[in-house]
Amino acid sequence: MYGWMGKVLRVNLSSDKTEVEDTSRYAEKFIGGRGIATAIAWDELHPVMDPFTPENRLMFMTGPLTGTLAPASGRTAVCGIAPQAYPTPWFTRSNMGGQWGSELKYAGFDGVIVQGKAENPVYIYIHDGKVEVNDAKDLWGLDTYSTQRIIWNKHDRDAKVACIGPAGERLARIAVILTETESAAGQGGFGAVMGSKNLKAIAVRGTGGVKIARPDELMELCLKMKGEMLTAEHIPIKPSLNSEHVTLYGQRLQNCSHACFVQCPLNHYYKSVPGVVSPGILSGQSHCIAPVFAGAPKTFYDWNPGFKAGFEAAVLSNKYGINQWELIIGTVPWLRAMKQRGVLTNLDGMEIDPDNPDFWFTLIKKIAYRDGRLGNALAEGGLRAADILKIGKKEASEFWAPYGYTGHWDGRGDRINPIFFPVWIVAAIQWATDTRDPFSSSHGYVAGVSLWSNVLKWDNIYRIADKVYGSDKAVNLETPYEYKAQPAIWHQHRSVLKDSLPLCDWAFPRIYSLSSDDHYVKITTSKGTIYGPSFEHRLFTAVTGVDLTQSDLDRAAERIFNLERAIQVRSHRRSRKEDESVIPYFEMTEHFVGPTGKRENLDRGKFMKLMDEYYTLRGWNKATGRPTKEKLVELGLGYVSGELEKLDLI
């Protein structure tokens, strides 16, 4: 087998048994990462179970491209029943970068499935095909940075460690699994699942390699893509350094995943930042939402504790293992709104004031240690906290969309990413039909169109959209409620591919370009011109030698997406009714003013027609929103439709 290592490791912590399974059982049908995890979830995560029962599977899955030269491929999907989902925890996915996934493959495995529960705290050490489950008494209670350091000292300085902090140990539903300084599987709360299994860390060390089917072709593709991929797909600006931060804090650019060619403009590493609340020098990566701990002037998040205190809070949340997105977009704005409306003014004596560095320190510590009634409630995530405390339900609904996730590229709860009407209509369809916030892997349409419209003329975007989606109506400002289901589905499939191959969500799919003459991504190789949307397919075939066509690969993505839906239907009776629960959220007026010159909100009637179109295009029943027998059989999921039929859910 090329690309895949051929082995998936299964560790049962209850019985201390490890088994090795064959990847080829799943590989061609479900690719890897999210795809293989979904296939396993259908087989094993049933009947409905609590995320904290030992029977829940915590799956770390890489894909065929992980550990290869393929651009930004060094990622790992983390899947299982997610405690963060509200009100019912259900199966979903998260994803992390860093070097962990690549190292796992060099150690000989495509993935690790953890099940059961250890009697006492343990950590798993995997090195070149060997597996040890070791006692973690001395690691339990430590922060994520210390945990990594101690494991390095014990075993190997080159080991890559994915671990949890105090928040995960205390089953906080917003706890992350973290590797290195800032790469984390955040959304879903999988840190708590790890904690529930008494598993502190998984360390991996490998000296092997990934076999490539056509190395020369891969090398040529990567070299050509290197020239094209100087900007992140969704951020059409080149990265820069802040000269003051370079001098004072040792700021430099750094990538977050193995094999990444792209330098995301928001991605920096700081070598030495003096602590404000606690003594000492802090260092670490700052990416994505982390800079907003220090506030973002002239936006909704206009608090200002200062750069140093903001960085300290970001590092603290990483060390304690708390989801930064949840804190910044959810918890803190919610607390601030409650204070403004006089519902809650302080946290057990600490005034709610994001300008004050001590406030951040207190808040993060309270959540991580479930300190007091408030800390205990906030660790459950915003919507559950509102239920427990019986306050701020209305305020919470402004920041959290249904299913328990804070706003994310939707123009409502997320008030930092500039998305405007009609771009968020596609977001609304994706929110409606997903199992979490769709945008850890589906920034594609919404971020791409929103941000590139600042750089490119709309005519260019229309022209390129016509090529990619089959009609310029997909992005046309004049046709807000037409042809939106098509790009929503296209990007949902690309999102599945990105999580399964895997490739970085910010780098792919490649559509718009600064370097090509007509702004449509293309490269010229010895085999001819390749356009951006074909990059994933070309990388997959060069690495694996499996000659699936582009449409076969898209079909695989569709199969995975349908299987995810089938899991929802079987375990949670998911139907169109639940999908529509996002409508009131999108009926709130948008935060940003777009090209129409005024703030818009969702037109329910027109949106329902789009949803009809979505289900029809998917081959699902329009009334129930469930996959039909014909669709499942066509996708090679006959066994799935058989089981749904028995349950009368099809």
Partner: protein
Amino acid sequence: MQVCPVEEAMVVDEKTGARTIVEDECIGCGNCFRACPFNTESFIISHRPQKNVYVKCDLCYRRDRGPACAEICPHDALIYISHR
């Protein structure tokens, strides 16, 4: 090169200027591994237990376009310059 007991096992490659280990000649003594002052974490020379030989970077002397690492580096942090 000074500590290698086998004359043909470590040679200077004419084209790239790299000191290279000839796998078929290496007897696996590890002298080079221990003598190299830059080798603190096996970055330069490392052991392959399967064959009991030591390997080190040969700057891709078989490759027409020079070292692949320098070619793929996206930000010119790594560049290849002639030893002359």
